[in-house]
Point group: C2
Chain length 423, copies 2
């Protein structure tokens, strides 16, 4: 048996960062950028108005107040989106909208509310005068060119995961597309003669295929793009066909066919397509795992190598093993850096028994005491076939491989299943 860490290291050493692609920023939420982003422009690009109001020379309005206003001649206006066509002369004002470029000669903006403009909306002529009721500091309501970003400034570093605000920041620089690490295409293959596709009548002695659906959703939650390949029957030909059909994928996930049964074909079929490691990983659930690096048959080489992770067939085992091995692999190929699952320290409410020296990942429901202390209650039956307890859980409470049992009341480390906790 190998440790969870050994298995994970082997997987991580054998999955490679995907080749960056140019992608519209509108399709890049959650992706990682593959280049440093440096601004080529100033933001804002020009000195501009922070208010709707009048651009003036501060010396012309010094001391103005409602009882002693200053009168300035209005000589023009600058709408947002147009450039000033006049220079501001002494004792004149130019109307400016928020964001409008400040005319040469002006050093201050007086907002409408501090003028008699409010009384005169829609009646204004460019030749009229305006009364100024306030004398703010020089520079008031003017946003300086480059105040937010100077040309040449690196605003986002390679490796940054894109959020709505950083996508807005890219737009502000005029970038409509950027270099990002793409979402990996992940081929998902279920296997077993006993599997019936949901939505069709259940055959005698059959069960519905679960892993295609739960693993597809997991891959999506990790950021990958699932490719549903279907259910392989328990014969080499059927499985080989689906493996070969997955050659365009960046990662292949199989489930079932990795334990000791007579009809376990995954291992034998994979051998024809590349190198393979068969592991007993010191974890429960999820012990039997296959890892392969495939590049096609000798007679039909693929264009690239594709890693394969063969998960156990039990739905809970498959999901837990995916959480431990597939999630970090997908983070890595997408340029991520946060490989460790988020953990919470909690007080265990039920004992965890470790039967055979494996690391136990017990499905648990986390809650929070009023004092901020987290508690972890086991979510019912821990049988690896019992999916409903996993659906009710938000964490996996860990009993280390070196510990034979964790009694109720002990401290326990809980890995978050969803990487989120709404408590």
């Amino acid at each position: 048996m190998i440790s969870v860490e050994e298995a994970l290291k082997h997987v991580m050493d054998n999955v490679k960062l995907l080749t960056p692609i140019e992608k519209p920023i509108l399709d890049s939420l959650g992706l990682v950028i593959a280049e440093d982003i440096t601004s080529t422009i100033s933001i804002p690009p020009t000195d501009n108005s922070g208010m709707d109001g009048y651009a003036v020379r501060s010396e012309d309005i010094r001391g103005a107040n409602p009882n002693n206003p200053r009168t300035l001649k209005i000589i023009g206006e600058v709408a947002a989106g147009s450039m000033p066509d006049k220079v501001l002369e002494p004792m004149t004002a130019i109307r400016v909208m928020t964001g409008a470029t400040i005319p040469m000669g002006a050093d201050t903006v007086i907002k409408f509310e501090d003028t008699n403009d409010l009384e005169r909306i829609n009646k204004i002529k460019d030749t009229e005068n305006i009364l100024i009721y306030k004398s703010p500091l020089k520079g008031t309501a003017i946003r300086k060119a480059g105040e937010d970003i100077q040309p040449g400034t690196t605003i986002l570093n390679i490796g940054t995961k894109l959020t709505p605000a950083s996508i807005g920041l890219l737009a502000s620089l005029g970038k409509e597309s950027i270099l990002v690490y793409p979402r990996p295409k992940v081929a998902i293959i279920s296997s077993g003669n006993e599997l019936t596709k949901p939505g069709t009548p259940l055959g005698a002695g059959h069960i519905y295929d679960i892993n295609t659906y739960s693993l597809s959703a997991l891959i999506e939650s990790y950021g990958g793009t699932p490719m549903i390949m279907g259910i392989a029957e328990d014969n080499a030909e059927s499985l080989s066909k689906l493996i070969n059909g997955s050659r365009e994928a960046d990662l292949i996930i199989t489930s079932a066919g990795v334990s000791a049964g007579y009809y376990d074909l995954v291992k034998d079929v994979i051998k024809d397509y590349g190198s393979i490691s068969v592991w007993s990983v010191k974890m429960r659930p999820g012990k039997p795992v296959v890892f392969g690096v495939l590049d096609g048959k000798k007679t039909d080489r693929w264009d690239k190598t594709v890693p394969l992770i063969g998960l156990p067939g039990n739905p809970v085992s498959a999901m837990v093993a995916s959480h431990i091995l597939v999630r970090p692999a997908i983070q890595k190929v997408m340029g991520g850096t946060q490989f460790k699952a988020r953990t919470i320290e909690a007080i265990l409410e039920d004992p965890i028994i470790n039967e055979d020296g494996r690391r136990v990942y017990a499905r648990a429901i986390l809650s929070k005491n009023p004092d901020g202390q987290y508690r972890a209650q086991l979510a019912g039956s821990q049988g690896s076939n019992i999916l409903s307890t996993l659906a009710n859980s938000n964490g996996l409470a860990i009993c280390p491989e070196t510990v034979s049992s964790l009694p109720a009341g002990s401290k326990v480390i809980v890995e978050l299943i969803d990487q989120q906790l709404n408590l």
Copy 2:
């Protein structure tokens, strides 16, 4: 001015749960189910084997051990996916794969490892005998029909947000599609003559359109489907055309055009399409907000009413106001129940000054001390035009409207921008 709570209540009272649609479970991750899901089948459907091994009668092997094995005649096998075609007679065994239905007459499964089968793989004939080396308890390695789920059991309630495990659970019941609340289509309209589309040369006096991109990404992060309508020029015709083109949307988001400037048209244009409220909301950034309920012009009624939220034009104001008003609205129409933003209590590292009795949402960077105490450091300039500080933040530290300043060192409530915190 109205309070944040009054504005939010008005929005929430005027957005309606979307009509549920039938959707494949493969496309339903993160959606909320709109029906109780009750199982029509037993899971597992039959008593079945938990191991690869031999189905036996426990009384036939009582006392077996390696020095004193029992010999049973192999009379057949049941592969996973096929039904038993024989009844187990005394002193016989039937080979069963994991998941295979247990033959009538058998009450226990002996795994291969506890027989001499391991030595005989691939050499087996159905007529041969098998040696049994162990005598486990009656019922060992048999999973009973209905052990996980009984027919008639409600396994997911209306209102449940679908996770990978609950999608697997639906698959296990044979459900390939279910009734869910759909993702709302959210029309996004930017406005302003000064806006240039990213990816094209920046016009003189122009800035790049940010809000289309940041709001689109926000809508996507909330679970909605953005519909990019484009940039409205500062004239009634241009804006009216985009509003009218948004009639298929479930929600319309505009930005800019809601403050006091001459070119502010949003309010006037919207009036032709329905009822409208113009608010000064007691918050900073993000004060000027428009809320409308549109149903088309008198001469051209739409098929349905569409709520509209008009956000401020400054990118930071637009995003903060969206966080406060749009996020809960989208949660509601999608059947969600968690409307409040997640909050963290932290120690404030920099003072927050409240200039004018509005609720201040200060962009902040949360960190965690080794002792578990969260700290909130303000993320640089809080000007509503400075988007880079929002991109660097993970929280909005709140200074209440009734408090004139929060000094450094005080306790502060911080709303999570992403609803996630990886600390």
